[in-house]
Symmetry: C2
Subunit: 772 residues, 2 copies
């Protein structure tokens, strides 16, 4: 166990690091040169102009106003200044709800820390158990539960504190759930008209020999939602097209690069390149001509592919976005089952257009369940056996292996210093690389599993990342050993021994986790605000690629909130805080500082930097809530295990009640608040519809929705094309207003079909008359 002076040293170093990051940020951000790196959000909103275009030459790049250096921390109050409703308008509800996770952390842990320091620290401190024992111990250990003698009556304090902490946490959680559910409903019901309010995603349209998907969808909804159906948009399989467009974009970048180079050299020498792998081999050609011809070729291919998609029906996927006349109609269709076969005509709320993950829209039901099984098994192996391939790589990448692969380095490797460095660094590198790419691996898993929106993909990845961290970081640090060894231990231990094993080693790991919080939490968050990677990339791009203003905008890369990696990290702190609250309360201030710092930093980033990819209206809150509850239950079980080793046996029955009550609380919250996050109440929909009808009686919803759910490759194509595109937007096939049926047998619904058609006609007539 580290002594308190060692902890003090580590704290000092980390505080200095964090401070250095903040100072660096304060200096960098006021340089006009970096303006687009630290304030991209305002550029994207069109609210900020480029400082490069005004002022003296030097002032364009370096800030010479020395007074502004003195106020280098003034971004902090500024970040806290913007009120919440304005922030929702500015950055969306997702960002605000994300910030509320940190706020929840503060609300939970500040009172808990105060209480722990006033009640538990004195109780722990005024014992002499550690002093009388032969163990080495530090001041920190004297503050922890370890300092209380076995079988002491003082454990009642910890028991009562455990109850208090649980009730306080549950109270805060309930309050937050309530607030966020209300915010979400208010946000959804607020004035913005959004296409997804009227639209439902239909998947697994069954194949029909007589009709195309297009006709089938129209007829199905005309029959089954005759008064509400408005229009629909079938989904095209545009993955190939999208690849081609991306390829052309890359080539265009290279072309820009060479043209810029040519111009900078005063057009003296045309740049040349090799066509082979990475420009290392192959024929040497004129680079500008080569890329020009490549781009022309690709443009032609894109034209052809696009035409194919338009003409051929085999590019139509069995999925469609169906729009309704009213929000009420869409809410009904999204929440009900359509067909007697529950695996076809699956309806769900359409995600926002920008949130749709297009590649997964056409996966059939059976395939989905099989994919889920595969991923479940794969994730199990990833979590428990990820050390095996890494150990294998490590065993390959030793000195002998390098000598064999590259004999010319033999001389160098005989130097002892180099050898020791390599042996010290190499094993770590494989693990570090794995941990860096882990979120991408988890994301790929979620994609394979077949979710249809980016927000769901991220939520799913976050869940998996949390489980991985819980097992490999939390448990792995407490009981040293790989996850597989732990699994093996747990299988061979009895159910009541597991909490004891873990619980008993918890107090010993407090100093380790304090260091972890400072390195990963404090310095990590301070590093986030510096944006080193985007800073470097922006300047590189700016130098090599940027020709026009639009290119510069592209180069900014504001990024977005890293939900799939960030949220599990926060959850780890919740877990640590709750587990150590009743054991080693000295950990709590470190966690409070983390939550406070992260709150300010991310609030600043959300206001000035991040540009969200999508808006899910805080749909992730049930996950956040569920994981905090999990942390609470884990903390209770571990405390139970710890106390049972301290022979405070009378407390066990009292502690068993805690997890039962917590689980019940979770179920209560689930029933009470979760529906607000998965369903859309009809009352709200009806109210909104009525208001809208009263305010804008002549609103043409159909034209509003017409092109909302078109694959982005069709919308964006022209941006990369210039105008030499074969098919313009106007030529793109519009849905015909009414498709004549080809089906010969219409026995089931003859009366209805006619009725609905005449209703539609009538409606058109009314529309025309009343809204000239």
């Amino acid at each position: 166990m580290a002594s308190s002076s060692e902890i003090g040293l580590a704290a000092g170093i980390n505080i200095l690091t964090a401070f250095a990051f903040l100072v660096a940020f304060a200096i960098l951000r006021i340089q006009p040169l970096n303006d687009r790196v630290y304030f991209p959000k305002w550029y994207l909103k069109g609210l900020r102009n480029d400082p490069l275009q005004s002022g003296a030459f030097v002032q364009k790049f370096v800030n010479l106003d020395f007074r502004s250096y003195l106020r280098f921390l003034n971004w902090m109050p500024a970040a806290l200044h913007m009120p919440e409703p304005e922030l929702i308008d500015h950055a969306g509800l997702d960002s605000v709800v994300y910030l509320r996770i940190y706020l929840t952390g503060l609300k939970i842990f500040v009172p808990i820390a105060c209480l722990a320091f006033t009640v538990m620290v004195p109780v722990n401190w005024t014992n002499r158990t550690l002093e009388q024992s032969n163990l080495t111990f530090s001041e920190i250990d004297k503050l922890s539960i370890s300092n209380i003698p076995t079988g002491s009556n003082r454990f009642w304090t910890h028991l009562i504190m455990a109850y208090t902490f649980t009730f306080w946490t549950c109270y805060v959680l309930k309050r937050e759930y309530e607030i966020i559910a209300a915010m979400r409903l208010h946000f959804i019901a607020s004035e913005h008209r959004r296409p997804d309010q009227f639209t439902v995603l239909v998947r697994n349209v069954p194949p029909d020999p007589d009709e195309t998907v297009n006709e089938l969808v129209e007829h199905f909804f005309l029959v089954n939602h005759p008064d509400h159906y408005l229009s629909h948009q079938v989904v095209y399989d545009a993955n190939l097209l999208s690849n081609l467009v991306n390829e052309r974009k890359t080539k265009q970048n290279w072309l820009d690069y060479y043209q810029l180079k040519y111009n900078r050299n005063n057009q003296s020498k045309r740049p040349s390149m090799k066509t082979g792998y990475l420009g290392l081999c192959g024929k040497r050609v004129d680079a500008i001509d080569y890329y020009q011809s490549e781009i022309d070729k690709l443009s032609k291919e894109i034209c052809k592919e696009r035409e194919k998609i338009t003409k051929s029906s085999k590019y139509v996927m069995p999925a469609a976005f169906v729009s309704f006349k009213t929000r009420w109609g869409a809410a009904v269709c999204a929440q009900t089952e359509q067909s007697r076969n529950p695996t076809i005509w699956l309806t769900e709320w359409a995600p926002e257009p920008r949130d749709v993950y297009w590649d997964n829209l056409a996966i059939p039901f059976v395939s989905l369940t099989i994919r889920r099984l595969i991923i479940a098994v794969a994730f199990f192996f990833l979590t428990f056996f990820f050390m095996i391939p890494i150990a294998f790589v490590q065993s390959l990448a030793n000195i002998d292996g390098i000598v064999k692969a590259a004999p010319f380095m033999k001389g160098l490797l005989e130097v002892k210093f180099v050898t020791s460095v390599i042996q010290g660094v190499l094993p770590g590198i494989a693990l570090k690389i794995f941990l860096i790419i882990l979120p991408s691996i988890l994301m790929m898993m979620s994609k394979f599993e077949g979710f249809t929106s980016i927000s769901t993909l991220e939520r799913r990845s976050a869940t998996r990342y949390y489980i991985f961290q819980f097992i490999n970081v939390f448990l792995g640090s407490i009981i040293t050993g790989t996850a597989f060894q732990q699994l093996n231990n747990f299988i061979h231990q009895s159910a009541n021994e597991i909490p004891v094993t873990i619980g008993a080693s918890i107090p010993m790991k407090a100093t380790f986790f304090i260091t972890y919080i400072m390195v990963d939490g404090w310095a990590g968050v301070a590093g986030e605000i510096l944006r080193i990677k985007p800073l470097i990339f922006y300047h590189l791009k700016n130098f090599f690629l940027v020709k026009t203003e639009k290119d510069r905008e592209e180069a900014m890369n504001p990024g977005s909130l890293p939900f799939n990696t960030g949220e599990p990290q926060i959850q780890l702190y919740f877990l640590l805080g709750l587990v150590y609250a009743a054991v080693t309360p000295i950990l709590l201030p470190f966690i409070v500082v983390f939550f406070g710092l992260a709150y300010v930093v991310y609030r600043h980033q959300i206001i000035n930097v991040y540009h969200q990819q999508y808006e899910s209206a805080g749909a992730f809150w049930p996950d956040v809530h569920g994981r905090i509850i999990t942390a609470l239950i884990v903390s209770q079980l571990l405390l139970m295990g710890l106390l049972s080793t301290k022979e405070a046996a009378q407390s066990t029955p009292l502690l068993i009640a805690l997890p039962v009550l917590t689980i019940w609380f979770h179920r209560f919250c689930k029933g009470r608040y979760e529906p607000a996050f998965v369903r859309y109440p009809l009352q709200e929909a009806m109210m909104k519809d009525t208001l809208e009808r009263a305010r804008e009686p002549c609103l043409n919803v159909k034209s509003y929705l017409e092109n909302a759910y078109v694959h982005p490759v069709f919308n964006n194509a022209n941006r990369w094309d210039g105008t030499d595109d074969g098919v313009s937007d106007d030529e793109w096939p519009k849905e015909p207003t009414l498709v004549a049926t080809k089906r010969s047998s219409r026995t089931t619904t003859p009366a209805r079909s006619q009725r609905s058609e005449s209703t539609r006609t009538l409606l058109c007539v009314t529309d025309e008359r009343s809204c000239p």
Copy 2:
């Protein structure tokens, strides 16, 4: 372990018992006197006439046609004769689906038994392990897995068989689920118009200071379902009234009894009685006069209570049955969320009127979740600690206790034979009584939990009863000891030891379970057909109470399928069959005989006897399916444990795949078929609506639904009243067609409200014009 000759003896005895029951049944059922006991269903359907009213005097009571005694087993083919669709018409879908559980058992176990006997029995038999060991063993053990030497390669057979059995079971389950889902949808969509197709139960109507529940419900649905809302029926708290009516019914029975007695005695002496407890103490009065006056008093009270309910608004519960113009509208309302607060305006499909459990309709959401917690904890203690009160009662009810309580029996108790009988019987009696009342306890628990329909109550009780049986009968028999001792063991054992402990003792318990199957299964089922209790009660009632034909109909008591006790019993056989299939296949024929016999017996009972209380259209199948899957997983885990003691270690990884695949299969089935049991597809609803509109354009749905959901005490009241009832059906408050709103603020939905009202007016006009 019992030897095979002992098993043979037990089998002989049980076969003889079962046979005796069947012969007794065959003789009793053809006596005209018992006709109403064995064929009540036909009487209730009005398809059978009383044989007592025709023929010679003796022939009225005793069957003298000796040829009919020779054909005494001819009911068996007759029971199998009725085809399934006719049976659905005759007895409802629930009964048919219940029979299919037995059929599923036959489908699963007949092929498994054949395979086990051709493959596994020879493999097990041709070893000499048991002969070479010092253990005593029987022929039955030679057929089991115990006869295979440790570490033998022959265990591959059992492994492959476990896979085969799993795949076969899953195949049968999937097929059955498919068939039953189709049957259910067809049944729901079939021609019968039922009130519950149009009706939704709304619970937790929020209190409103301005409006009554009646007005509030009407306005809410007029606003939020303007095109579909038809009418509604608020729920009255009629529990007190219902108690009064029941009390009057009992008194009426006594009055009938005494009047009959008086008449039988040729009106010579008026019967008298004492008014005190059980007629043992109190003043002696004239019985007929006494009961007549009591009934008059109760009738008056009933009148008053009824008037109070009609007039006072505090008897109106915050729940209502809301009816819609179309099935589509009801399906939409039942499946969607109404309000932004998900704990108010809860909508669900209305149960059938006769299926409603009226007492629970007004429980608020928070109370519901608390009740669920209480019952969960109570059930845990009931399952694991039920032996404690029983042991306490047993300790009281010993010889000394009896002597103390009843000193006059001292002489008798000194006889040694009597003492030993009492000591042998008494401890068992407390347990037996507990087991008899256990289903009622579980039913009370479900009622307390707040479910709103009898079918749900029964399903929930069945689940609990299954868990109780699994822990206390199955595990309790394998590892002798009380459930609490087992729980204690399991907590202190590691997760991989538990299956080993149980698995290793499984082969030893085969003979016990064979006996259990014969006693509980064979003889029990044969006893069911004899209907001894209803037979005795019918004749008693017939003699003492029956005055009119209606009374005789009342006395029949046909009973109904005992789902909450019967289904868990069947599940125990599924569990035994699957667990022993790969271990001791000799058990399988006994199970096959049980399923076959039970199928025939219950088919006969369903055709001739049972009168179902409700019709849930097979809504219980997901539970049945889930429990068979549970049994399958348990069998796989136990086989894994057993094989690991046999040092067939190579098989463990292969066996782990089985539960994973089975769980995946369950999830697949859940997604694929379960929605058919909980939701109602819009396509079906629309099709049915359209058909109905085409066939009966002038149908008045409103008048059809008007009195469908009135508390039975209002509907049935006149049956027990004569006509001296204060309020006749006509005076019962009808819902006014349109209630003027009292609410002053109508800001949110002014346009809509007017519109919907005018729509309603228009609709009425149309109706009147087109349907004169």
